[in-house]
Symmetry: C2
């Protein structure tokens, strides 16, 4: 009764293993890849994570929060590198709100070490899930080194095996499994800036540097060792695309044209670019996430999302924490745990999947856009006037624990207020005038009445 | 260069084989099932097709239209069996528009016979597609009888292998393949009424009989031999559901409660119900439909839709006819053929997939609903006043050749007119008054101006 088999030892599988081991379950984890602690850090698959309060809270509950904070660099906002070479600071909030930038590999290693050191969790590496018999809850693995096949009969299987989940593929073969995968026309590639970088802008560590260039974008994430991990966003097709860049010359031409200052700090640019994989962005939606009291999906396996909002790992960690609350509540009644977990988490994952797709367009096309700037300015004003009652969407997602689906509903109301204010002529200049503040008070009252009528529970979140 | 491999010998695969053989291509067709002409008609998988002008036009172009008309029964409307035992005629249009009811098996046999008799097409049955190597265009089949494996290297593969397409599954494994499958909470089961049925209502052959009962529904389709094929729609779960009906008693209780008159004509009800499979309803959307000039999907393999609108086979036949036009236009330039085929047909399939989901709710919940009736009445009036310019959505889909996506756009404009008219007090009684007709003329003028501004091409379709 007390055994649980987790497929995947990535961020989510590792954290879930810790939670369940803490509750006294006998946890086995099977991972298709090598133990990443035993191989030289694979370049290009470690694109940085930006942890927010949601993820950190889940790590705190498992006893890991402070360990992770020590390997993270707080970033307090975006620093936009405009095409005209001007720099533009965009703080995340009025109150020193921060995200925590951390290398995915390093975070995963930390989780694995912590799990092995503190709990009797069995990790099996190089074991690829190649079959799952739902009627007998028997899962089959193939060892990628020996080729040997392992059939494991178990009571409970949790698929934490990522966007391309093998466990989900088995569930998908059942009838009545709703599923969708949606790719962006863009992908990412990891590049790097060494700790020895000497450029003026590289000294500004506690921000995410962003070079928005319409369809193209470069983002940099600081690491604790002083190095910087960069993500290059390009379309698959067209001029300056992954398809089009075939030679060193093509690559350099693109960087000189679009990211000349960044390029100066990238001695390994050519090598990184041609060695590192191109990582597509996929949104996965599926339903149901669970099969009886036997199988459940979690993290990217249940709801992969585009990385644009930085919520992939955070939402997966939140899944784990919520799952653990259900286990606490229902004990060995796994049917009840699975049901509540899915009922509560799926709508949130769906909301966040949609927001991530929207936000991708926003950061790509609009970060340098004057209307976007003006909207942000108005939102900061609203937030200053109502620090706890008007929280911009980005902050609702990154700096609160309000469920994603509720954040989306609140935003729909808030957007109407900004829509109204932005139409006032000269709003940028007179944003602090009394006349405007009175209008803001009126609009906020209307919103509260609206929320009171339509969703009184939401009003509690923002009052 | 001239060879084409088609996977699936169902309705769409067979028709496409005929089209391509007519153009001089060497066509091979592989089918996972037995040759359905050589086995006693499998009950329960032959739910009737209602062919409309779209499907018949495509059959006409292949030389098969009249042959198929001879095995079909024209139906001119719906006959609603209300819960209060009243009957209610709902003609499809003002002008004797008809659908053609035909057994899927019989239609498929007719297509296969015609193909084999007139063209040197090679049909291989019992061959299941188990692999597809895109780089070498090699497709692998396993014979379900001998177990032998066949690797076929070919130039061109067309997957016409239905909603659960094996060809599509291979495409799906590539990166950047957008895919979704969405199931209804309801499914269908085939039932039958023998030709010897003597009930009063069974003599009314040239209609679809419908017993709408909220979440439950029975529909009957006439066959040329005098028998009637019925489709029972039930939810999977709940009272009177596929899950709940476990015994003969459960079944009879449901029929006595909901469909007592139909039940009297069903001597094989119990046997049919427990022998026939429960057929889920799934919408499949995917993109791209094609891979280079090598692989394409067609029919349900590309765009399965809920059967509620009766457009599954019709849209697949339309795919074939359009595909053939592209082949005519581009000759052996398959890249151009594939590109135009996908560009034109995919938006139409998406529109029809959405409309089928909407219509399912309409026929299920609203056929017996007074507002729905009133809307239909207003639409018939509009259509009488403007026979070629106001065509209700159902007629746009079933009785014109306007592309589905355009039909959807036209409907969005037309709905506004009905929305306006239905608010006029007493509209039902005074629908033929001069005052109303003047209002209708005004509203139609507004619509035309709107279409003129937004989509002048569409205006041509309805002028």
């Amino acid at each position: 009764m007390k055994d649980v088999t987790i497929v995947g030892s990535g961020l989510i599988g590792s954290l879930l293993a810790i939670y369940l081991a803490k509750r006294g379950y006998k946890v086995e984890v099977f991972e298709r890849n090598q133990d990443l602690r035993k191989v030289p850090s694979k370049r290009g698959k470690s694109i940085n994570i930006t942890l927010c309060d949601r993820g950190l809270k889940a790590l705190d509950a498992a006893g890991l929060g402070d360990i992770v904070r020590q390997i993270s660099v707080p970033v307090y906002g975006r620093l936009i590198h405009r095409e005209d070479r001007q720099l533009e600071h965009q703080p995340y909030g009025n109150n020193q709100e921060a995200l925590y930038s951390v290398s995915r590999n390093q975070l995963n290693k930390t989780l694995l070490d912590y799990a092995e050191k503190n709990f009797p969790i069995d990790f099996h590496f190089n074991e690829e899930c190649i079959g799952l018999d739902l009627s007998s809850t028997t899962i089959t693995f193939k060892n990628s080194r020996s080729g040997s096949i392992l059939h494991r009969k178990t009571n409970r299987i949790i698929g934490a095996d990522g966007a391309y989940s093998a466990v989900r593929q088995r569930l998908q073969q059942r009838s009545r499994f709703d599923y969708s995968q949606h790719y962006a026309a863009h992908a990412n590639k990891e590049l790097s800036i060494p700790a020895s970088a000497k450029g003026a802008w590289t000294r500004e560590k506690n921000v995410l540097h962003i070079w928005p260039r319409g369809q193209h974008m470069l983002i940099s994430f600081p690491n604790i060792d002083g190095s910087i991990t960069c993500t290059l966003h390009l379309p698959f097709e067209g001029e300056f695309s992954f398809d089009a860049i075939k030679t060193e010359q093509d690559l350099k031409h693109m960087f000189v044209t679009m990211f000349p200052d960044a390029m100066q700090e990238m001695p390994d640019l050519v090598q990184d670019y041609f060695a590192n994989p191109c990582i597509p962005m996929v949104t996965v939606r599926c339903s149901p996430w669970t099969f009886q009291d036997k199988v459940a999906l979690i993290g990217d396996a249940a709801h992969a999302m585009w990385p644009s909002y930085g919520q992939g790992a955070n939402s997966g960690f939140e899944d784990c924490a919520f799952f653990d609350q259900c286990v606490e509540k229902y004990g060995d009644n796994w049917l009840a745990t699975f049901r509540e977990y899915e009922e509560q988490r799926r709508p949130n994952a769906e909301a966040m999947g949609m927001l991530s797709e929207q936000h991708f367009i926003e950061i790509r096309d609009l970060v340098g856009n004057p209307e976007f700037q003006l909207r942000k300015k108005i939102e900061r004003k609203l937030n200053r006037m109502y620090p706890t009652r008007y929280i911009p969407l980005y902050s609702l997602i990154a700096f609160t624990h309000i469920p994603y689906a509720d954040a989306l509903r609140i935003e729909q109301q808030q957007r109407l207020i900004v829509d109204e204010l932005i139409q006032i002529k000269g709003i940028a200049e007179k944003i602090d005038d009394l006349e405007i503040e009175i209008r803001i008070h009126q609009l906020m009252r209307c919103r509260d009445i609206e929320l009171q009528n339509s969703a009184p529970k939401l009003l509690q979140s923002v009052k």
